[in-house]
């Protein structure tokens, strides 16, 4: 399997506290990895570090994405390279419509890649196709980014953005939190439809339930800043049965 993401001995801290204490993880093309762990294990820190969140400081280790030094890139450069993070808590941006937001995002990326802006008709066609993929109603994209959205709508909007940006590596950070069963299913179906043999996904979650819909190839247990166990999907049932204590 061609490695897409290679993490070696990653240590990171935020506000003076060391959270990641030596992470090794390799994600191959087409693979779905679940990262599970108790609260405070460092799950969200891992997603923050991979996407270059300010205030998070890498003190040791390396991360390569498609062979490039990921840690040397700005958050936007990482996005252009093909990384996407579905936020646990998506940010509200009043006065900026989803359409305008995504137009700006695509324009920035195309500019960085030396491409001209998409023609309005091309953008609309792309938007229509991706909206169908995540079963979104047309009026949705006219709304301001995440303003007044329910928990389910926010997560659906994340997956819609993911569809529009077409990343090679998607990181879903606690995408299941705050979702009822129906919303969870719609979001998971969207993620599954976007999956291809070339695309990889990291599902960060606390619970089993999202993994009933998005079935991982590998499951990692993250505890106190380290991956303490890696196995196949059978590990999920063991966690559900025994909790994280025994690992």
């Amino acid at each position: 399997m061609k490695p897409l993401l290679e993490i070696h001995g990653l240590h990171a801290r935020v506000a003076g506290n060391e959270i990641l204490k030596g992470i090794d993880l390799a994600i191959g093309e087409g693979e779905i990895h679940a990262v599970m762990g108790p609260n405070g294990a460092g799950k969200s820190t891992l997603s923050a570090v991979l996407t270059g969140k300010p205030q998070y400081e890498v003190t040791e280790g390396s991360v390569r994405f498609k062979g490039q030094d990921l840690l040397a890139m700005s958050p936007e450069e990482r996005s252009w390279a093909g990384i996407f993070l579905s936020f646990q808590y998506p940010v509200e941006i009043p006065g900026v419509s989803i359409t305008n937001f995504l137009k700006t995002a695509l324009a920035c990326r195309r500019k960085a890649q030396g491409l001209p802006e998409l023609a309005p008709a091309e953008f609309l066609a792309l938007r229509k196709e991706k909206m169908a993929l995540v079963q979104m109603k047309p009026e949705f994209v006219k709304r301001d980014v995440n303003v007044g959205f329910s928990g389910g709508e926010k997560k659906r909007n994340e997956i819609f953005q993911m569809a529009m940006l077409d990343p090679d590596l998607s990181i879903l950070d606690e995408t299941d939190s705050g979702l009822d069963v129906d919303a969870l299913r719609i979001v998971a179906e969207g993620v599954n439809r976007l999956h291809t043999p070339q695309k990889s996904t990291i599902v960060i979650t606390h619970y089993q339930r999202l993994l009933d819909y998005i079935v991982p190839d590998y499951v990692h247990i993250l505890k106190d800043g380290r991956i303490v166990r890696t196995a196949g999907r059978e590990l999920v049932a063991q966690i559900e049965e025994k909790g994280y204590e025994s690992f």
Partner: protein, 213 residues
């Protein structure tokens, strides 16, 4: 009625030489005033506004926006009095200050004795884009009636880094992210313009002002 006033390099004075903008609202009169202060660079803009709520059922809405990025000195003073019962006023003042600009907002709401059932609200929000820019806000409430709903609040801050990170994680450059944030900040003021065409034209002016920051 709706009034839109634009103060820029060409139109530094909207009071017609009077120095003060005087407004008096009689019973059931409604006025929505949108004020855009977009100075061009180094000028001083002083705008005193006096509003007399002088009739039952009168309603006054002020939505003001000020964008400064160089060495402007802008001072907006709103003196609003509720003289009679049963009138309402709402003020939203938003300022973006960069460069070495100085922006001050003084807002006095006075509810006179007997002006019961008054509703008067005032909010002032400011964004500082540089360490050399200064914003001062002085909201004041003087209330001499007991059956009223009044509040005022002021915030001053910088652009939020978490929002920027969210946008950048979607491939939006920091520069564009800042523009979107500023646009988001100024939007409620623009939204008060009900004529879509006029709003579009003003929006263009605001965009230009923001992109110069």
């Amino acid at each position: 009625m709706e009034k839109v006033m634009l103060i820029d390099g060409q139109r530094p004075d909207v009071t017609g030489g009077a120095g003060t903008l005087d407004i008096r609202l009689a019973a059931q009169e409604r006025l929505s005033l949108v004020l855009l202060v977009l100075p061009a660079g180094e000028e001083e803009v002083t705008l005193p506004i006096r509003v007399m709520m002088d009739g039952e059922g009168a309603d006054f809405q002020l939505n003001a926006l000020c964008i400064c990025g160089k060495k402007e000195k802008v001072s907006v003073k709103v003196h609003l009095e509720h003289l009679v019962p049963g009138a309402s006023s709402r003020q939203l003042i938003r300022c973006v200050a960069g460069g070495e600009s100085r922006v001050s907002f003084d807002g006095l709401i006075k509810v006179l004795p007997g002006a019961q059932r008054t509703e008067a609200f005032q909010t002032s929000n400011n964004i500082l884009l540089s360490e050399r820019a200064k914003v001062s806000t002085q909201p004041q409430l003087e209330i001499y009636a007991d059956d009223v709903k009044c509040s005022h609040g002021a915030t001053t801050g910088t652009l939020d880094e978490d929002e920027q990170y969210y946008m950048r994680s979607r491939g939006i450059t920091l520069e564009q992210a800042r523009l979107l944030q500023l646009r988001s900040f100024v939007w409620p003021v623009l939204a008060a313009v009900s004529d879509e065409q006029l709003r579009g034209r003003l929006d263009d002016r605001v965009r230009q002002a923001l992109s110069r920051l």
